[in-house]
């Protein structure tokens, strides 16, 4: 009987699936197909394990992290978290002593009885006894409870309609529909098995069945998840009635502005006015070069009457050493350079760290294309294959030797990224690589199906396998030379690591060969493991290649690669706007779509077309009107946080903040060289082993240690300790009172008691700190304070202190 039913079903299913798959040829959703059957059957078909059963269990929440998806399982029953490990899930359901399904008497199956009862199921009642969910599961059990996931083919895509939702009033609603398109040609309505969620419930909410309801003005995305697919659908409700013909004429001088205004127009948001010249100079100088403009620079810029002076200033700033220093620091944040913590095992931690840092700085200064810099780090080994170990050791010492050292920064490659000893496992390498160069967080997929993206654990393992042959230490072919060198130098007889290290350093400085470790590519993978595969790309025969990172790099460079250019463009954008087009900026995933896809696509594409020219990217962004808008908002853009309709006030990054305090309090002679003489600049300071070793002010303002794969490690929140620092720290007072400080330069000046001169001093204090003239009211208040006692210098010190303590000083705006 059973066999008969099965046979019949196959016929029905194949009839339904037959024929060319045009838009109308969609299999109705399974809740409709099972709507009319009785609880006991007969059923119209046997559901597919992958397409229906696991999807249904996911939709019901069974494989969530608080239920059976938890690694401990629940009640002795464990499913793979968020599904997609079909073999394991099938085993959990039907294998072992406590099978959850009973093929002989389906009605007795635990998965039909427990979740339909409030009393017996820890997770409460999940569905109605006899409802369509019940019938689908029961039919699958009655059909033999088979794992036929392989036969489902691959899910090609999930077509979610409507493609976007435009609401005009709160309470309006739209029903979403999801159609799965499989590689065997099947198209099936899977709305009832798709999980929907809203990225912002204040804008729109969505029911489990896909009914979207407008909640308030603004824009967000509805995320739909089925099988491996994750899609996002924009939802938008204008914030004002300034839409369509009523939208005012708004300037959009650049491509960036066109794309931003196109979105703002739909939202009824009017962008802010253009910022003033003094605001622009301070903002651009802090963002591009991490440096406060001096009063002289600021006044000169304000007085300059040439029409293209902003563009010229951007170019000028991009040519300063401060630009390359500051941006190389940012890049080293992302690539995790921390010499004391992670490079010690080379025996040359500080040297290796400084080589790394200065190499990056040089590449930024020379404006080497971004892809070339990454390639220089990614596809790098320490020793060319034609170089003997002895020559290699000598060559390494040649960079360090005191007499006429070789210039490390002139090299095309820099392998030190792979020396990081927090990248010892292939998983760690893959996670760090994805974070640094792709802006992707894969750690979820390390253990289970990624809840926000299409990656399964298998995808992650295959991606990680690309890094399996990347090693550091001593390659087998050099082992005997290495041992021999150590023997000759007497290393094995040394007392301890400290003696060894000191000797290495001394010999290296003398230019003698020392036994350097190297980054190399092992001949074979460590063990039988998953075949290496690019993320969402092709499998690679890893062992056949000289270097499996080569196809990885080629893949990153492909025009259609969705990560490589995007990740950098988005991070740079986030630096200038205080928010990425994708936010968080290092979290590109399908459930976290860009707030303006056209904008991100344009920038990434144009960046590639311009040969990954970083200065082009900076120029393109900084020259846009969007970047040059005021922070002063209007009625329509006041609450906008994601569409770049006004400038955001951003706390200065730690290094920039401390440099700004130094610069604002420096005497005029010292101040003029900050952009060019960057030797002592905080914007180039290396990371320490822990915060107690970081300069106090930098630690307080959140300089990252670079221990975590997250841009969020750079702390931007205001904090009590920061506030205490600026108000009351001995270091801050020392800045005010230092010998090469501004106040000291005035101490001999008798004329400061002269009222006219005092006016000058107040203005100077404002230009130094805030880069602008005081308002009439600020001027009179400040003058009153200066006149309060005979100690003009002391009063001026109070004023400078107060200015350093303002929100306007410590932020970029």
């Amino acid at each position: 009987m059973k066999r008969y039913v099965l046979g019949l079903l196959v016929v029905i299913v194949s009839m339904l699936c037959a024929g060319p798959a045009d838009a109308d040829d969609v299999l109705p959703s399974i809740d409709a197909r099972f709507a009319d059957s009785a609880s006991e059957g007969p059923y119209p078909e046997v559901p597919n394990f992958q397409r229906h059963v696991v999807a249904l269990l996911g939709w019901l929440g069974c494989n969530g992290r608080n239920c059976h998806g938890s690694f401990q399982g629940q009640g002795g029953f464990r499913l793979s978290m968020f599904g997609y490990d079909f073999a394991a899930d099938h085993q959990a359901l039907s294998g072992g002593k406590t099978s959850r399904v009973d093929v002989q008497s389906p009605a007795a199956s635990l998965i039909l009885n427990k979740p339909t009862s409030d009393d017996e199921h820890g997770g409460g009642k999940r569905y109605e006894p006899g409802g369509w969910e019940y019938r689908v599961l029961r039919s699958w059990i009655a059909g033999g409870a088979r794992d036929d996931s392989g036969r489902a083919g691959n899910l090609l895509r999930l077509e979610v309609t409507p493609a976007e939702m435009l609401f005009s009033a709160t309470g309006q609603n739209t029903r979403m529909r999801a159609v799965a398109v499989w590689s065997d040609g099947t198209r099936e309505d899977v709305t009832c098995l798709t999980r929907f969620s809203s990225n912002d419930d204040a804008v729109a909410e969505v029911t489990p069945s896909g009914l979207v309801r407008a909640k308030g003005p603004g824009d967000t995305h509805i995320i739909a998840t089925y099988d491996s697919a994750v899609t996002s659908t924009p939802v938008l409700m204008p914030v004002s009635d300034l839409v369509g013909d009523r939208y005012p004429s708004v300037p959009a001088p650049t491509k960036i502005d066109e794309l931003i205004v196109a979105k703002l127009r739909n939202l009824g948001i009017v962008p802010a006015e253009t910022c003033s010249d003094t605001e622009f100079l301070r903002r651009a100088s802090l963002d591009i070069a991490g440096t406060l403009p001096t009063p002289e620079q600021a006044r000169a810029f304000a007085a300059d009457e040439s029409p293209d002076k902003r563009a010229a200033k951007i170019d000028e700033l991009l040519e300063t050493p401060a630009y390359s220093l500051w941006w190389s620091t940012k890049f080293c944040d992302i690539t995790g350079l921390n010499a004391p913590l992670y490079l010690g095992s080379t025996d040359f931690g500080p040297i290796v760290g400084e080589q790394w840092r200065s190499w990056v700085e040089r590449k930024f200064r020379d404006n080497v294309p971004y892809d070339k810099i990454v390639e220089g780090m990614v596809v790098a080994v320490s020793r060319p294959s034609d170089q003997q170990y002895g020559d290699f050791s000598l060559a390494q010492s040649a960079y360090i030797r005191t007499a006429a050292p070789q210039d490390f920064t002139a090299r095309d490659t820099m392998p030190h990224f792979w020396f990081r000893n927090n990248l010892t496992t292939t998983d760690d390498k893959a996670l760090a690589f994805a974070y640094s160069f792709m802006g992707v967080r894969l750690d979820c997929a390390q253990c289970h199906k990624h809840p926000f993206d299409r990656w399964s654990q298998q995808d992650f393992k295959q991606f990680a396998a690309l890094f399996d042959r990347v090693r550091w230490g001593v390659s087998p072919e050099c082992k005997s030379d290495y041992d021999q060198l150590r023997e000759e130098l007497g290393v094995p007889r040394m007392k301890n690591a400290a003696e060894r290290r000191q000797s290495y350093w001394r010999w290296a400085r003398e230019g003698k060969a020392v036994p350097w470790p190297e980054v190399f590519i092992a001949a074979h993978s460590r063990q039988e493991g998953p075949r290496p595969k690019l993320l969402g790309g092709a499998e690679i025969d890893g062992d056949q290649l000289d270097d499996p990172r080569r196809p990885l790099m080629d893949w990153l460079r492909q025009r259609e690669n969705p990560y490589f250019a995007q990740a950098w463009v988005n991070r740079v954008w986030s630096h200038y706007f205080g928010r990425g087009i994708v936010e968080p900026a290092d979290d590109l995933n399908l459930a976290n779509p860009p707030s303006n896809r056209e904008l991100l696509d344009y920038l990434a594409r144009a960046f590639v077309e311009h040969g990954y020219d970083m200065k082009w990217l900076h120029r393109e962004i900084a020259a846009s009107r969007a970047y040059q808008m005021s922070w002063r908002t209007n009625e329509t853009n006041r609450n906008d946080e994601r569409n770049f309709s006004h400038a955001r006030i951003r706390r200065l990054p730690a290094e920039v903040a401390v440099d700004a305090m130094l610069l604002a309090t420096a005497n005029p002679r010292r101040a003029t060289v900050y952009l060019t003489d960057v030797k002592d600049r905080k914007i180039g300071v290396q990371a320490t082993a822990d915060h107690s070793r970081t300069e106090f002010a930098l630690a307080v303002f959140g300089k990252p240690l670079r221990t975590v794969n997250c841009d969020c490690e750079r702390e931007q929140e205001p904090s009590l300790a920061q506030s205490l620092f600026v108000r009351n720290d001995p270091d801050l007072f020392a800045l005010l009172d230092r010998r090469d400080g501004w106040l000291a330069s005035l101490s001999k000046d008798k004329s400061i008691v002269d009222p006219a001169h005092r006016e000058e001093l107040v203005r100077e204090a404002y230009w130094r700190t805030l880069g602008r003239d005081p308002s009439a009211e600020e001027q009179s208040r400040s003058l009153a304070h200066l006149a309060r006692t005979d100690d003009t210098l002391g009063q001026l010190r109070d004023l400078l202190w107060a200015l350093l303590n303002t929100h306007e000083f410590i932020t970029n705006h």
Binding site: L431, H691, F701, C710, P718, L720, R727, A802, T806
Partner: protein
Amino acid sequence: MRIPTATPFGMSRRHFMGHLAAAGAMAGPAISFTNALAANSEDLRKRHKAAILLWMGGGPSTMDIWDLKPGASTGGPFQPISTSASGVQISEHMPMTAKQMHHLAIIRSMSTREADHNRGRYYMHTGYVPNPQIEHPGYGSVISHELSSQVPDLEIPPFVSVGGGSVGPGFLGMTYAPFVVGSNGDVRNLNMGIDNARLTERMKMLSELEKDFIAQKRGESAAEHAKVLEKTVNLMTSKQMAAFKVDSESAATKERYGIGGAQGTGMMRRGGAFGRGLLMARRLVESGVSFVEVDLGGWDNHANIHTILKDQKLPELDQAMSALVEDLAQRGMLEDTAVIWMGEFSRTPRINGNAGRDHWARSWSVVVGGGGIKGGQAIGATNDDGTQVATDPYSSEDVMASVCKGLGISLSTTFTSKSGRPMKIAAGGKVIKELFA
């Protein structure tokens, strides 16, 4: 100079709202420097739950302190002595603490895996091994996160670290970062070298200068800045800051903690900084602080360990630790205040060629007491030469879970990391049953 630091500490919205209603100091341009505290809140503060962590940086040899092996080849020269807890013996160089052992429990079967200083410090402070994907919050941040709402009028930060060395707040955010003060008790930037009149005048000028910029509606950032500013002023002028001023304690109390006075020699001198830190910890807890960590370094004894322990480390520890436990008990605070003594790991049973002991995490001891924990006992055991645990092994997570239970913090508490990953409190550790028998 080792600068006390580090991880700065932010401002809790909830706390701020409390202040706003109570103080309103920043409402007018003139700042009031008197901060009247409601009398009933004093009682509240006295009854709140808290924890004090005695952090032994470097990894102390617990075989020479809490779990002696006289006669074993690994035992070393120290002899055990009896204590106020029946059947529990500790090192002869801890005589004062021996008299307090009825308040304390030794967990002798700690077994962990991290024997590197940085990793061990991180693990013992968080329950997790370092992971480049996520910054875990330290126990101090977790406990202050859970407990600080008990004292809504607290103006000092809820987590104070004396001497640094704490692990940061991770994904719990800057509000729960340790507020670090120097090991000598100095609060780095709260010792105002200027008189109040001048400060008032300055703050007044600042608030006037800020007016225009702040008045513009510019979203969260400005509001946050204004709040932090208020919090700063509150802290700078708070009467609660007196908690940091250990010197106002009586001479007898200071002497008991080993804080040197004019006669500062010998033991007085040795016990100085640590005793000062512990006395400050008691005062901070009295003022409503939820978690205080006091750092005592110098335990990384790879050479001449027994001389150093006998002449320096143990007298210093014994004096101050016994004083704290006794003091808390006498004041009726011990019931609500958990005391935890631990380092990142312990030291090898084998004594090396330099008469030292190296890093060892496989079998060692941690001491806990107060905060609802049953003292006067030793739980678990190591084998005869101390090289292995002989009973069920316990972990950092288990210690933390037990402390949480004692303080009434639910072990089903789950946090969510920045990447959306759920993280169980105490990393899912199991309560050590004997501590509550």
